[in-house]
């Protein structure tokens, strides 16, 4: 009886906790279908304003262009970051040289420097290179991050060295070993790294806002920021914009969910 009771209490607590964590998501979805005045009145039921809000959103801002720029930035950043960081992480673990650990330590130390501190020199660099206002300027600073290199290095640790030696004896080149053996084994690490990088790049705001001077390059986060800048905020339209901006990351996370969990915990498939 006591076990049943304990179970019931546990479930009750879990249900409340999950409701609480799902509520903001629910409110965002419901608000996207209500008018601004209804959102301010904290209406919790779905309304009939979805199409009106969508129409207003498309009329006020170039939503499709913003989604395209965000996708382009996020996908390019993710692909490049995976290549660069996987090679780096693999190299740090598999090859041995004298200064390797020192380099790794310096790399890890750079994780401690906040972006705001490097923003002005970065702006200067890109501006003088004639790259201000370009997609390249948004992507380049994000393709090599100490965290991803560390993630790949840690997972490369569980990559059996015997296989490596066997492959070398069989005459496989280093690149073939990396592409044919390391990448397939580390699929879950790649999935985790892809989710983290994609989310970071998709949600990136400060740097694109500074370096992208023209609105023709506007990303979805910049679009949302502009919605809040006016004297009158249409909360229904704003919530719809936030919903549209959250969908891609939600979908990617749901697709890669299992691999993500495995990748973070370091499991090898």
């Amino acid at each position: 009886m006591t076990r049943k009771l304990r179970r019931a209490v546990m479930y009750a607590v879990l249900v409340i906790a999950s409701l609480l964590s799902v509520f903001p998501l629910y409110f965002m979805i419901v608000s996207a279908t209500n008018t601004s005045a209804q959102v301010l009145g904290a209406r919790l039921l779905p309304g009939l304003q979805l199409l009106t809000n969508l129409h207003a959103l498309m009329a006020q801002q170039d939503l499709l262009a913003a989604l395209w720029h965000s996708s382009l930035n996020a996908v390019s950043t993710t692909v490049l970051a995976l290549i660069v960081c996987a090679v780096a992480g693999y190299g740090f673990e598999v090859y041995h040289s004298r200064g390797k650990d020192a380099v790794m330590n310096i790399l890890l130390l750079t994780m401690m420097i906040p972006f705001a501190a490097t923003m002005i020199p970065l702006f200067r660099m890109f501006s003088e290179a004639g790259l201000a206002n370009s997609t390249l300027a948004v992507i380049l600073p994000a393709i090599s991050t100490p965290f991803l290199i560390l993630l790949f290095r840690q997972s490369a640790r569980s990559f059996p060295h015997e296989i490596l030696d066997a492959a070398r004896i069989d005459g496989l080149g280093e690149l073939t070993i990396f592409v044919r053996m390391f990448i397939p084994t580390m699929r879950s690490t790649f999935a985790a790294a892809a989710v983290i990088t994609f989310m970071g790049a998709w949600n990136n705001f400060l740097w694109p806002r500074v370096i992208l001077i023209s609105n023709s390059q506007q990303t979805i986060t910049m679009l949302i920021s502009n919605f809040r800048a006016g004297y009158v905020i249409d909360y229904g339209v704003l919530m719809l914009a936030v919903l549209v901006a959250s969908l891609p990351t939600m979908i990617i996370f749901l697709i890669l969910q299992r691999s993500f969990a495995n990748g973070i915990t370091g499991a090898v498939q």
């Binding site: 601004s36 005045a37 301010l40 009145g41 904290a42 006020q60 720029h69 382009l72 390019s76 692909v79 490049l80 290549i83 660069v84 090679v87 190299g91 090859y95 923003m119 002005i120 020199p121 702006f123 200067r124 501006s127 003088e128 004639g130 790259l131 201000a132 206002n133 370009s134 997609t135 390249l136 992507i139 380049l140 393709i143 080149g173 280093e174 690149l175 990396f178 400060l206 806002r209 500074v210 001077i213 023209s214 609105n215 023709s216 390059q217 910049m222 920021s225 502009n226 809040r228 800048a229 006016g230 004297y231 009158v232 905020i233 909360y235």
Partner: protein, 436 residues
């Protein structure tokens, strides 16, 4: 190590081809890397709010292009916070060619930016603009060292808007709240609360907006004439804090946590009044079911302070021309002929966006005398322009925001029970430290 070199070469090649591919799909826009400023007969502008500032700019372009064929304008939508970030970054990285020709600056931040980054701003004193056609208080926001660095646009004159139906329930009319003092307001507001259950005002806790409006209504400032912080022993400030404290304690002023909650408080009818810059009118009109029930008048004046008036300002913004602009003459002439010279412009933008002129000649137009159905068919725009012309000038100082934040913190402490003198002394020290 040879194979590793191979990997590196291939990776770099792949990375470059991918990003170059990514960029080529954006051809055109990526090549305009440096110098976003326009040339010839073209100007670039940074401003926020497509239904207000950006709309006004585009209408100005149409008017100017009619007299100057071929004139084009590229208005980029950038929020004020982002303009501030960009100004700071561009100034510190010394990349002035990234500035547009014209940008919009919040009035309260104008002096701080001109003082901190003088290299960004062009001197507009000799641009041929007649500044005497603007209220002095509004021009003063963008004056540093007796030079004009901006052209006032957006009107921030303070209005007191009330729900006349609620006032009526309590046995009052709008006239009972016109040209009054805060002590009178408190008595009546308590009565309205007792009879209708509705507080008259609301505002964000930890924000000193309300107190700054009260302070400016008497021409007082948090700084003395030499620009030194004058928080301790400032009688106008003491009276302001006292009124604020009494309003919160009597529950006639509801403190909320965020801007969104503030807007919700009057849109949902939880409070029966609003005192703020006239740009708040757009938010009030979100509540379509309350149409005809609102009306507006001037704000209460401080008791026992010399020079106290019923008029003040909150916010507002001014156009600036960048020092690096290669088109200074064109930009100055454009602003002079439109924002400081065209009643047609203000007649167009007022009905559709509610953008009120600071430029005094515009107020003579018939458009300003139209009755507004939402506001009890009152001629509110003529009223606001009249209020704007009576706002006392005050010293904003480059350290305006630091002083404001210090006052917010001090008032939160005072409401929590801290001794007033001690809290204000601490605020004074905080500002003095920031100014070192």
């Amino acid at each position: 190590m040879k194979p590793l070199t191979k990997i590196a070469v291939i990776t770099v090649a792949a990375a470059l081809s991918l990003t170059l591919g990514a960029c080529s799909s954006n051809s055109g826009s990526t090549t305009t890397s440096s110098s976003s400023a326009g040339s010839g007969n073209h100007l670039t502008v940074w401003a926020w709010d497509p239904t207000f500032n950006i709309y006004a700019m585009n209408e100005a372009q149409k008017i100017y292009a009619a007299a100057h064929p071929g004139f084009t304008l590229d208005v980029q939508e950038v929020s004020w916070d982002d303009i501030q970030t960009k100004l700071t970054t561009i100034a510190q990285a010394n990349q002035l060619d990234q500035l547009p020709d014209i940008f919009l600056v919040q009035n309260n931040a104008f002096q701080k930016n001109v003082t901190s980054y003088p290299q960004l701003f062009a001197d507009m004193s000799n641009a041929g603009i007649d500044y005497t056609q603007y209220p002095k208080a509004v021009v003063d926001y963008s004056v540093v060292d007796n030079k004009n660095w901006g052209l006032p646009f957006d009107n921030g004159a303070v209005i007191a808007a009330y729900r006349t139906d609620v006032l009526q329930q309590a046995g009052y009319t709008l006239a009972d709240f016109t040209d009054i003092n805060w002590s009178d307001f408190l008595t009546k507001a308590k009565d309205v609360l007792a009879k209708t259950g509705k507080p008259l005002l609301s505002g964000q806790a930890n924000s000193s907006d309300m107190m700054m409006m009260m302070l400016q209504s008497s021409g007082a400032s948090l700084f003395d004439a030499q620009g030194k912080p004058a928080i301790v022993g400032n009688q106008a400030l003491l009276n302001t804090i006292n009124v604020y404290k009494q309003m919160v304690q009597a529950k006639v002023y509801t403190e909320v946590n965020s801007w969104d909650e503030y807007v919700a408080s009057f849109v949902n009818g939880d409070v029966a009044g609003v005192i703020n810059g006239c740009w708040i009118l757009g938010s009030i009109q979100t509540a379509k079911d309350q149409s005809g029930k609102w009306d507006l008048t001037d704000m209460p004046a401080l008791d026992g302070v010399p020079g106290a008036t019923n008029y003040s300002a909150n916010g507002g913004s001014s156009w600036a021309i960048s020092a690096s602009s290669k088109n200074f003459a064109l930009a100055a002439d454009f602003l002079k002929s439109t924002f400081a010279g065209s009643t047609q412009l203000y007649d167009t933008i007022l009905p559709s966006s509610g953008a009120l002129a600071n430029w005094i000649p515009a107020a003579k137009s018939d458009v300003y005398g139209q009755p507004q159905p939402f506001f009890n068919n009152d001629k509110i725009y003529a009223k606001i322009v009249d209020y704007a012309s009576k706002v006392p000038s005050n010293n904003t100082s480059p350290y305006y925001y630091e002083a404001r934040d210090a006052i917010s913190a001090a008032v939160t402490q005072i409401l929590g029970g801290t001794d007033e003198t001690k809290a204000l002394q601490q605020a004074q020290q905080t500002v003095e430290f920031a100014m070192q």
